[in-house]
Symmetry: D3
Subunit: 287 residues, 6 copies
Amino acid sequence: MSKIKMNQNIETFIGCNSTYDDAAIVLFGAPFDGTTSGRPGARFGGAAIRRESFGLETYSPYLDADLADIKVYDGGEIELSFGAPVPVLKTIYNYTKQVITDEKLPVMLGGEHLVTLGAVRAIVEKYPELVIIQFDAHLDLRDEYLGQKLSHACVMRRCWELTGDNRVFGFGIRSGDKEEFAWAKDHVYTQKFNLDTLDEIVRKIKKKPVYLTVDLDVLDTSVFPATGTPEAGGINFNELFAGINKVCELNVVGCDLTELSPPYDQSGASTATACKILRELLLSLSV
Amino acid sequence: MSKIKMNQNIETFIGCNSTYDDAAIVLFGAPFDGTTSGRPGARFGGAAIRRESFGLETYSPYLDADLADIKVYDGGEIELSFGAPVPVLKTIYNYTKQVITDEKLPVMLGGEHLVTLGAVRAIVEKYPELVIIQFDAHLDLRDEYLGQKLSHACVMRRCWELTGDNRVFGFGIRSGDKEEFAWAKDHVYTQKFNLDTLDEIVRKIKKKPVYLTVDLDVLDTSVFPATGTPEAGGINFNELFAGINKVCELNVVGCDLTELSPPYDQSGASTATACKILRELLLSLSV
Amino acid sequence: MSKIKMNQNIETFIGCNSTYDDAAIVLFGAPFDGTTSGRPGARFGGAAIRRESFGLETYSPYLDADLADIKVYDGGEIELSFGAPVPVLKTIYNYTKQVITDEKLPVMLGGEHLVTLGAVRAIVEKYPELVIIQFDAHLDLRDEYLGQKLSHACVMRRCWELTGDNRVFGFGIRSGDKEEFAWAKDHVYTQKFNLDTLDEIVRKIKKKPVYLTVDLDVLDTSVFPATGTPEAGGINFNELFAGINKVCELNVVGCDLTELSPPYDQSGASTATACKILRELLLSLSV
Amino acid sequence: MSKIKMNQNIETFIGCNSTYDDAAIVLFGAPFDGTTSGRPGARFGGAAIRRESFGLETYSPYLDADLADIKVYDGGEIELSFGAPVPVLKTIYNYTKQVITDEKLPVMLGGEHLVTLGAVRAIVEKYPELVIIQFDAHLDLRDEYLGQKLSHACVMRRCWELTGDNRVFGFGIRSGDKEEFAWAKDHVYTQKFNLDTLDEIVRKIKKKPVYLTVDLDVLDTSVFPATGTPEAGGINFNELFAGINKVCELNVVGCDLTELSPPYDQSGASTATACKILRELLLSLSV
Amino acid sequence: MSKIKMNQNIETFIGCNSTYDDAAIVLFGAPFDGTTSGRPGARFGGAAIRRESFGLETYSPYLDADLADIKVYDGGEIELSFGAPVPVLKTIYNYTKQVITDEKLPVMLGGEHLVTLGAVRAIVEKYPELVIIQFDAHLDLRDEYLGQKLSHACVMRRCWELTGDNRVFGFGIRSGDKEEFAWAKDHVYTQKFNLDTLDEIVRKIKKKPVYLTVDLDVLDTSVFPATGTPEAGGINFNELFAGINKVCELNVVGCDLTELSPPYDQSGASTATACKILRELLLSLSV
Amino acid sequence: MSKIKMNQNIETFIGCNSTYDDAAIVLFGAPFDGTTSGRPGARFGGAAIRRESFGLETYSPYLDADLADIKVYDGGEIELSFGAPVPVLKTIYNYTKQVITDEKLPVMLGGEHLVTLGAVRAIVEKYPELVIIQFDAHLDLRDEYLGQKLSHACVMRRCWELTGDNRVFGFGIRSGDKEEFAWAKDHVYTQKFNLDTLDEIVRKIKKKPVYLTVDLDVLDTSVFPATGTPEAGGINFNELFAGINKVCELNVVGCDLTELSPPYDQSGASTATACKILRELLLSLSV
């Protein structure tokens, strides 16, 4: 029996009405943005995605598939301590651990990118061969940032510590300091600016369990302005959709979408885009 | 007698200063958004387009043509009842009816997409062979929505009832529920995601009278965030301009631009884009 | 047994966690703004109040009372048809009818002010002696508006038709057309600009069942800018709190808060204020 | 002949539909903000007031008077050169000159406060005894500002040069540099912070022709945030209304409202407040 | 040698151009909002106050005093780690310690209210008799919040641990949970809602060294909407100014202004108000 | 002696910490928008770029180069008179003159596009063979605009008066009136809509001294909405970056970035994009 508390008061992402027990996928939010160095607000990302999902259909004409036909439990936003990365990551770890113990696929909504570490810590225990695919504008490979090891700017470095060399594959990367790029060459795979080599990489890692982390700032600032650190020169929606769909051909054992920052989304277009990406991700994981 | 120039304080779309009698084209606004299910505000769309048009030139370097050289009467926003689709559509019908009776071309500014129905009702009476070309992110083919038959989500279904099968041609479509897409296959033409087959369709319907309805959400959310239901993965400005220009090679007997929602346009870029599309539409209709 | 569907997925107003069966008060949202003549958006009011209530405490230092100690069921937002006042009012009527049949006190969150009519129609059936106290900037006493009888601008006229003369008491009124003010003199009580005579009126109607409708635009625009038709010269928070508290000395059998329009609340201060007023209202009704 | 009502698409302030010839009052806008040192945007003030006036009634319950019963011609926004104070002031001078030559009362909408100078230059020629009453947060009495003599920060100094000592009466003043306050003591009347001595001053200048200039930043920032240089500690709406009404007991020969800056008015409350003040001003001038 | 003036591009609060050595007051910013439970953004508060101070004059007509005549060094924003309260408070402690060791008066700009603790830790070491006067909407007396002891919601409890009973005096308080209010009765002084008893308290603590902490949410939401947790029913600008001025009659040995959150200040009015309060505070400390 | 680090509170563009004497490049801001005919606000552009540059890295993965390795002095915003183009241009001229006299490369941040004229006046004196490359949506070739010769709409015409025919090369142009386009044919080079012929032009002018002026509205409105006159159909970030980089192969003797208008940048994405373009420009000028 699951130890997850059955929250009676959540507002679910459209079409994600399965019970926990029936679900193949468990969606949950990790509303933390405590280490954001730019503009905070990602804590509100998951709730906004859930709320604005009413503007979407459950059906995808891209995949000819429907959320109504798959089993997703939406666990809502988990409660996290403000200003305290250590217990925050522990809570995320525990939640993810329970989900994978129950043989379900966790899909986490950030929050800032650091939340990925909590999930990866749990998943790598079950899948020591874990490979991580990162769609992101930023390398996030610093060893520390402003004296802190637990920072969004260090999250992939911390993940690398768990997987070892040649197991982190970054795409769309277009920002980092000189040392990060130098360090990256020796330890991780980096496809700068776009997803051009994704097919090739996907072929290579076919058998491995995969964690997919999507920092939504991989999108161009025109497509996704409402994020903590917008970075011009990114990919568009169709490219991100194709990339996610490609990765979902692999054995994906966990994934996340992070860094939507609703306070910077006056038009609502970024939130709507995040909703659509989540729908396509959930369907891609299921078909 | 006073020497003060009698400024009539008329606010028209830039360069649209013809009298009604002299005009070949009659531009008017239908400020209704009463059935909007997402975010209302399209009622302010036409007035915003008119007001912000001062930021445009009357001359188009795309078409080497100038609004100063064509005859457009701008009738302003017509007065509509709030919260009452039936009389609203009747008022739009009457206005359009008069314009076409007077042998002028009606160009309507929404408002939400439902307003199209009022205009089509009038036009199909005069042109029973009418073909409708729809640029839109959404199918809008539901038979009813939340119990209502007169809804933006049903507008093309209602139009289809007036024209019959194979007379509605949708382009750029990327949203609808499963049933709508299934129904669409049997009754209307649907080009998903883009305008790729537009040339081909235009060749086929060469002799028919055409109504062109442009739901501006056919544009990508990056280009046009300020709309009631933004939908990622759309076309860009150049593609829409080319599409409109292509359609204007046909015998266009009426058209509209709908779904600009100014309250979601803090930057003003969506409104400016709508203004430019209207200029190119008016010129394309005239050259 | 109640016929109200136990919605498993609502997000409640802070501290309103009672089951329906245990509850003395039933809070619900009526997300309709279809007749708004100014700036629509009130449809999002109830959901925003619920969502932002986390910024409040459950305890009121004004009343030395705590939401944790009273029994409120939050039924969430009820589903309403867009653009169709008749079925909308019927749905609200039905919901309210059920609540009062179950001997609970309905507290409705708008939405626009027209929603009041749906609730009053149900309540006046049970309490034919019903008196209505209206806190509002606007008279809302037109017989029709732009050809419609069901409009926010006519809501109190429609209510008056149900109660008859001298049973509607308006306070804080500072807008209406000349005819409305003239008509008002003969049929309703009007305290212009403020609540100065409220105590006196409360003494007079001591025994009567009372419906309290609070159009939040009774507040000054400085205190509550995010409303469809902001009107300068209103009352402040302390005055509204005191007024509500005073009315709650009476036999209140139903009430509502309407006209928060979140799209116009960039700072969030209006929503936060509405949350606090709701807390004080719920506590005032209970102590 | 067409049956379409020839909507001239005229946008006037609500109820100001008189012809120029019939009018007793001429309302016009001076859309200039070229010397604004803080946040520009006041150029859009007049147009916003006109546009948003539909949210008002024509009837004032404060004065029991109606715009429908008075004769105001709304001349719209006059065309002004950007970035060139000298011709801008000349254009305003010419317009005002014509209005007063035609024996009508000019009411000007800014724009920034410098526009007052153009009007005063014309009016003081006709009324050499002119007294100026200024409601304002700022003294605006600098001799020059950043090297310029024609600046919003100098406008009352320039006006004083036209009237001489003891003819400018400032109220609500709460900002200026030390030298301005020192200079003011010898040359103008200054009531700091509020309008407390207005009655007394009004009694004193009973017979004189009066120009009333209302810089809307005299209002508290809570009431009127959308202005170029918001200054806390101001008066509220009721106080400003009472002040304007009091001044209108005098022989007012010209007046203006300036410094609404719509780009800073996301909620729309400042614009709505400016509309209401203009209605009360027009009615106060007429009754 | 170049004739270009070597503009060091220093951005200070207006008029605060003293060198550190000459200064009597040291102004500095503590850009931390990591424990904010509501809406983050206060990290940008200090920089915004500095930047927007150009809209103010250096002269105060309230105090007839000028920043040009006093000696304030503006140290800018100190660099703080994100997401790590312990080192953040240590950095603030060190900075404050140095300032008071150098016999200067520290004035800190938040950031969130937790930053007060860093300053108080330093100051109470030098002044063990320290009394704290708190202007605030919230008690901030929780022992812990969401499992954390270092939280904005606990800051005054942590301060109380340093001073002991009857040494913390709160004014304007209108929010807290039931337990906080109960605990407060035994340990601190609380003036609910306003500053009514301030004069009396000031008389009592005349000889004691005083730390003044101003959480700007003590202001009413109409006056100061742009804060993390807006709370209706607060005081206005004139009341806060008078309160600060009164406290400055005492032996103030340190002070702070916290909780301006610029992302929620579209109009800029809250920032402008914070600037003016800082000017009056600096002048009140000096005269 | 105090141990506090003497933070001079200097705010420079990230990594631009050289002294003036050591610098090869001098960056400075020209905060003027007095002739803006659309939406003012560009005066705040340079300061916003500087402030938000902290969200960037100093390292460019595009150029494998780092701001830390080049010598740029950031002179901050120069002080300009509001509302007075003549002295404004003189001040810019003087500043630029000094920079080039000192054998340094000036990089100016607008402000509106007119500021370019001040810099070009100085530079053309030293380099009479000067060629100007203009990236812009608008021709800006009017002889006068609303009666003014010194207007953003005339800036390239004024520059042409300094260089003569065939020395101004415009790219990305998609707006102007009919006469401007006609005039342009005889006097300047115009590549409409994009940068397609840039390589060819660059080859042709290889030996000439070049001034590069980038009006950021050359970017598509999706990429750069926050500008005074947004114009759909522009280029994207990668295209602009490539274009700037190509021009920097030439002998660039001065350049500018103009027309970021921060008040229209609620999301911050336009400002972030401008920051990145400036980094790439500075690095391209140096490698």
